[in-house]
């Protein structure tokens, strides 16, 4: 995964640098507070209606002696994206399963779309869409048949069903594979189909449980784009992820789940400001160029043997200063490494983001029951 992210960052670098420059320029001349510096960062222009889509208070859930959730509180305003960030076994899936009526809580007040999840589960189900961690498609049906099945179960009339199904096939780039069995789909296509099935009934609130786990970087980006389009339409999203960059890309607010409770919450920027930021690493072609740059950037550390220079990435100004000093010919590589989940956990909990003791896999536990 680390390698993956490295790779992603490399691909992304061009965009990031370009956006950085543009962002700095417009930041200087405009008062647009919605503008943020990272590529693809969700706009803070959230279409919030002021209502609460999900409200969880004092949620407890355990299996036998093992407590999975020990008092979770969270509020998700309508039209916003909330990311539950945490390692395996931290209880993310359990929160989603309880909010989506799949599991019953041991204690707590949980309201989804204004309805009580236990007493008014029909109304809750009518208002939500769920894409779980495991592929929830029918392998023996074709892509089109899967969508048709969902249209029927959403009780759409024939004409409307056809329009919606064909529209989703186009939009999710599944039209060419529409008449192939879902069994034969790639991981990315299965995920897209899964999400398309969730969206058939036009839910105003969707749950995405680790939506990009197991996807290659490209499919991951495509999925992020789809989620952003939903958010632009005013849909509320609760997603779980193990990756800080995913929360950063999509969420307005992030809750850090550890030991069965939310230990930190805030905007991605707020969370990142509490952890050591990432760093920039430059690979030089020759020692002379390296020492030249190192001389004017005293805060950077250089490694003469490896011909690399490393500098904390603490904002645009320092990056700009670094870029200004670089000579095209003397540099072969430049990577921006952002803080990852481990950095966040280490900073906020004092321990690494490891699976909890004895927790095994949360899902395994549920299955075993």
């Amino acid at each position: 995964m680390v390698q993956d992210r490295h790779c992603l960052d490399c691909i992304d670098l061009g965009h990031q640098l370009m956006e950085l420059v543009t962002a700095t320029r417009s930041a200087a001349g405009s008062k647009d507070k919605g503008l943020t510096l990272t590529h693809g960062q969700p706009s803070s222009m959230v279409r919030m209606s002021g209502k609460t889509a999900i409200s969880v208070a004092g949620l407890h859930k355990g299996y036998g002696d093992h407590d999975v959730l020990t008092g979770v509180d969270l509020e998700v305003p309508e039209g916003s994206v909330y990311a539950l960030l945490g390692p395996n076994g931290s209880g993310k899936t359990t929160v989603v399963n309880i909010c989506s009526t799949l599991l019953t809580p041991d204690a707590g007040e949980i309201r989804v779309s204004g309805y009580d999840v236990q007493r008014e589960s029909d109304q809750v189900r009518r208002s939500i869409g769920v894409t779980g961690q495991f592929s929830a498609i029918d392998d023996y049906h074709t892509g089109r048949e899967n969508l048709k099945l969902m249209a029927d179960l959403n009780h759409l009339d024939r004409g409307r069903a056809k329009t919606v199904v064909e529209g989703l096939l186009e939009r999710f780039e599944l039209a060419d594979a529409a008449d192939r069995r879902a069994q034969t789909y790639s991981g990315g296509m299965k995920r897209r189909l899964d999400l398309a099935m969730t969206l058939i009934g036009s839910p105003r609130l969707i749950f995405l449980d680790e939506p990009t786990t197991g996807l290659d970087p490209r499919s991951r980006r495509e999925l992020w784009q789809i989620v952003r389009e939903q958010v632009a339409d005013g849909v509320t999203v609760l997603l779980t992820t193990q990756h800080l960059d995913e929360a950063d890309q999509l969420a307005h607010r992030v809750g850090l789940l550890d030991g069965g409770r939310i230990i930190a919450e805030g905007t991605p920027a707020q969370l990142k400001s509490r952890v050591p930021g990432g760093h920039v690493e430059v690979q030089f072609t020759n020692a002379a160029a390296l020492s030249e740059v190192a001389a004017v950037l005293p805060e950077a550390t250089s490694d003469p043997d490896a011909l690399t220079l490393r500098m904390a990435n603490d904002g645009v100004a320092s990056l700009r200063r670094l870029l200004d000093r670089l000579d095209d010919d003397a540099v072969t590589d430049l990577t921006v490494q952002s803080a990852d989940l481990d950095d966040v956990f280490l900073a906020l909990t004092g321990h690494a983001a490891e699976t909890r003791d004895g927790a095994e896999d949360e899902t395994k536990l549920e299955r075993a029951r």
Binding site: S100, T101, L103, R126, V130, D138, H141, N154
Partner: protein, 271 residues
């Protein structure tokens, strides 16, 4: 909101069940090997009993002047073979349900505002259709082997209604077994007794040929009145009390199986 005063989940039972029924039939078409195995089983038994055992067993049939032959035995066991077709498809349903429960799509269904029971009724309705299909194929084989019936069309209609009812009852039971099973292997083992029970009934030899204890069991177990009814109907004779007893057993098994399955389905969390 007043339009939704009654939850959709009760309003849409029929519509959702039909949707799930279509899904079930599509699985059968897309994954025919299970279907072939299940239809093949009664046919294999038919061939085995007629050609391997038929000569000897037919000669021992009481009530046939001078003993019967292979042909008489074919007529005698055809109702039992039809019941085996019912049991065979019911067994397949337990496997299908268990397979279905391991897939992520069930979690999707559970979070949708649909009549939840339709997830199960889809399997049951599918099984009834498959059973009737399996019976027709089996009967076609029997006809090829020389089976002839003197029954009227009306008798055959009643025969098929009874077979449908039996399939309905037995699949509610095996749906429960599929839900209760912790693996697909278990789901394919527990309903095996349904395939074995017809052997200890009036299906393959007259019960009065059995020793006392076994005979009591054979006479009172549910398959015997079912087979007796089918035998009477397909030979154009009045079925009498056996028919009512068979229908009674079916209703009892169906209701019990339904209640058990419904309880298991609503209790089991994401599996």
């Amino acid at each position: 909101m007043s339009a939704h005063a009654t939850p959709r989940s009760t309003t849409y039972v029929v519509r959702d069940s039909v949707t799930m029924f279509r899904r079930n039939l599509r699985h059968w078409l897309r994954y025919p090997s299970l279907a072939i195995m299940l239809v093949g089983q009664p046919i294999a038994f038919l061939l085995l009993f007629v050609y391997v055992f038929g000569g000897t067993l037919g000669a021992g049939l009481s009530g046939v002047a001078g003993g019967g032959g292979r042909g008489d035995y074919l007529v005698f066991i055809t109702p039992g073979i039809m019941v085996m077709a019912v049991a065979s498809v019911a067994l397949g349903t337990a496997i299908e349900v268990a397979l279905d429960m391991t897939g992520g799509i069930i979690a999707r269904f559970r979070t949708m505002d649909i009549a939840q029971v339709s997830v199960l009724t889809g399997h049951v309705l599918g099984a009834v259709v498959k059973t009737l299909f399996a019976v027709v194929v089996t009967l076609a084989f029997a006809l090829l082997l020389g089976y002839r019936s003197e029954a009227e069309l009306a008798d055959w209609l009643v025969t098929f209604v009874l077979l449908g009812l039996m399939a309905f009852a037995m699949t509610w039971l095996t749906v429960g077994m599929g839900l209760a099973a912790d693996s697909v292997e278990t789901a394919s083992n527990t309903p095996m007794f349904l395939v074995m029970l017809p052997f200890v009934s009036s299906g393959f030899v007259p019960t009065d040929a059995m020793p006392w204890g076994l005979r009591q069991f054979a006479e009172y177990q549910p398959f015997t009145p079912m087979i007796d009814s089918l035998r009477a109907l397909t030979s154009g004779e009045p079925a009498g009390n056996a028919l009512w007893l068979a229908v009674g057993w079916c209703v009892l098994i169906a209701v019990g199986g339904y209640l058990w399955s419904r309880r298991l389905f609503t209790k089991v969390p994401t599996k």
